[in-house]
Amino acid sequence: MAGKWIKNEGKQNTSAAIQKKALRALAGFLALMVLFTLLSRAASNQIVPNVVVETPGKESLSYRISASGTVKENQLCAVNVASGIRVKKVLVNAGDRVEKGDLLLELDPEDLAEKIRMKEREIQKMELGIQDYEAGQERKQSDQELERRRAGEDYQRVERSADTQVERAEKAMQEAKSRLEDFDRSAESGDFGEAEDPVEKTLQDTCREKAELLQQAETEWKEKQEELQKAEAAASQTADSASEAGSGPQTPASSGQTGSSLEQLPKAVKEAEERKEAAGREKEEADAALAQYQAERESREGQADASQRQALEDAYTQAKNAYEDAVRQREDSLTDAERKKEDAAKQTLPDSTVKSQTLDLQILQIELERMRELESSQGRIVSPVKGVVRKVNAEPGFATSDGSTVSLADLSEGCRFVAALSAEDAKYLAKGDEVILIPTAGNEEIKGLTVDSMKESPEDPEQMEITVEIRDGEMEIGESATLSLEKKSPRYPCTLPLAALHLDGNQSYVLILQEEKTVLGTELTAARVDVEILEKNQQLAVLKEGALTGSQQVIVSSDKPIEAGSRVRPNKE
């Protein structure tokens, strides 16, 4: 019992101990939690980036452009000296400032005198040359005139002879033609023109006779036939009447005739017919013989005719060709002669040799004048203007060269400041804008100058050349300075510092402060707002309206990197 009691008590003690421990542990846990609360708050505050915020402003953009350049002269003055003259002394160097009338260089007087003499000689030669030339021109003129005349005469002569030839050829042709025609005509007409052939004549006569005989035979035959018919008719009549009358007296004539005709006539007719046929045959034979003879004769004659005709034809053709040739030749020779005439009549081209030579002469004379002037000034070259020597193209002991011997920057014309500006910056600049020049030497700024011109730089098309007129005495030629310009644009309704803009690919955005209710209360986080940039300069950017309101606070900068959604703490200024 006691043991159980002790066990119970032990148990109670253990549970009490556990209780105590648990209570202590709970207290310790809570204390730990308090500690961690503080730690975590401290840690998170450390991590939270401090940001500087700004509301979008309504500002105008000012563009500050600066470019460095140098002062250049407005006008370069060249001092030219006749070339080829030896220089004795050069008294100035590049960069020297000279007043008007200052001695620049001296020329060698002896060399000058020699050069003058040479020049005079040259001039003389040129004058003589001109004279010769003019004489030559006159001669040429008269030669031409002669030629023209001769050409005219030639033409006429040629014309005449050609005409004659043509006439002759024509005549010959006509004759040949007429001969041919005659021949043709006689060939057509046949016997009349030709010698009679006795054989043919005989044959022809024979034919005629035969024809006549035939005619006779035919006539005879016809007569006989008629007679027969008559007799037959009479016989029949008699028969009829005899039959009718019975016995009647027959006309003795008719009956007798009839009786005799009837027996004889057919025989006569037949004979006549035979005679006719024979006559016909004989005629035919005669005709055939005639025809044959004629044919033979014609063929014989025909051949002779043909060859004769051919010869005549050939002659005609020849004569025709000769005529045509003559015509053509006439034309050719006339054309030639005409051309020669035209050539001769051609005016010579206006020759400006005299004029150019005269001009050359004038130039030489001018050069001589200059040389003489130099001589009179004893070879001293002075500066025509007040200025700064830019370049000296002469060396003592050497001859002057072509081109300017000394080039001076003409100070009386003033000077200008030239600077190069990138095309992007030059966008903001316009002619007439007021600029400030700050000399590199540390002198005072020069205000009140305006941009004179802006053009593409010849050396670099990407750059623009700006020129600013400088007033007298403000700056020296050759000095370098910086051009500075500040331009204000009109007010824009929504501007932000450039630092507030971020870029995500192609899209610009800003981070604005946004209140968020979290467990820890109202917290400020960064929220992304996409914007569109209209314009910007080196400090400000102009945003398109609508993206931001005037009350939104934009995060301009932070001490730690932030992104959309991160907690921020704005600096309370």
């Binding site: 549970s15 209780q19 648990a22 542990a25 708050r41 998170s44 979290t518 467990v519 820890l520």
Partner: protein
């Protein structure tokens, strides 16, 4: 032999019950990579099945550091939970204990009906009374304040019920003796009732603590202001990237509850025993 079987059965059951705690502890010490590997199938839409290992391959305290040093909101919510819980328990002490004493020791008209009402209310889930509570709180302008959660819980019936049982078990003779000695009702309540019923009170408190420490529905319904949210609402969404911290947060949330339980374990036992006993 029988004991051994019973013991082993009980051990298995205990292991099953305690397994989530080990799961939690192991997970809170695992690195992100390991967690993704195991839980990827569930949380990150990966393929396959979820796997787990009891001991992490690469244990790390990174999640605890992140939770305890880098998350001030966790502490904000922690203290909100403490405030709520302490407030509710205090309120219950002030209102619930006398109520229980009253029910236990006194007779008054409609006592039975009232008590029945108490029991009925006790059985009702929050969702049933949610709307009416909302309307009442809104009418009282208590919405979006901690009082919206504290006040309804203060007048909860459950602790009254538990304490009632204990107060019932105080010997009547003792009270009578006190009365005879001239103690007033208040004196009796304070000097006799409370000490005698302390197990009940403490058990009610412990149970109450366990309940109100894990309160989710009421804060979610009545508290819109995130500043007032309790710890139970710290990570309603457990996403893959916050899995480790969720485990660590769960472990930290577990500790006070565990400690309170250890403190009041005895009394809880007594309370449960007392509830089972009939006087």
């Amino acid at each position: 032999m029988k004991r051994r079987i019973i013991l082993s059965l009980l051990m298995i059951l205990a292991a099953a019950v305690c397994y989530p705690i080990f799961f939690l502890l192991a997970g809170s010490l695992m690195g992100d990579g390991e967690l993704t590997e195991h839980l990827g199938a569930v949380l990150a839409g990966g393929e396959g099945l979820m796997t787990w290992s009891v001991l992490p391959l690469a244990p790390t305290l990174r999640h605890y550091v992140e939770l305890l040093l880098d998350s001030p909101e966790f502490f904000q919510m922690f203290w909100n939970s403490i405030q709520m819980t302490v407030g509710i328990l205090a309120g219950q002490l002030i209102f619930g204990v006398p109520a229980a004493w009253g029910f236990a020791r006194y007779r008054f008209p409609f006592k039975k009906i009232l008590f029945t009402l108490y029991i009925v209310l006790m059985m009702m889930p929050f969702q049933v009374t949610m709307l009416s509570s909302y309307l009442v709180l809104s009418g009282m302008d208590l919405m979006d304040t901690l009082w919206a959660v504290i006040l309804p819980a203060v007048f909860s019936t459950f602790p009254v019920f538990i304490m009632y049982r204990f107060f019932c078990s105080v010997p009547h003779a003792l009270i009578e003796a006190a009365r005879v000695d001239g103690a007033g009702e208040l004196a009796i309540f304070l000097h006799i009732g409370l000490p005698m019923g302390s197990p009940g009170i403490i058990s009610a408190m412990v149970l109450g603590y366990l309940e109100y420490w894990n309160l989710i529905e009421q804060p979610m319904t009545f508290l819109k202001n995130k500043e007032l949210w309790p710890l139970s609402l710290y990570l309603p969404n457990i996403s893959m990237d916050r899995a480790g911290v969720s485990f660590a947060a769960s472990v930290v949330t577990l500790i006070p509850a565990l400690l309170v339980f250890l403190c009041g374990q005895d009394y809880l036992e007594q309370g449960i025993v007392a509830a089972a006993l009939k006087e």
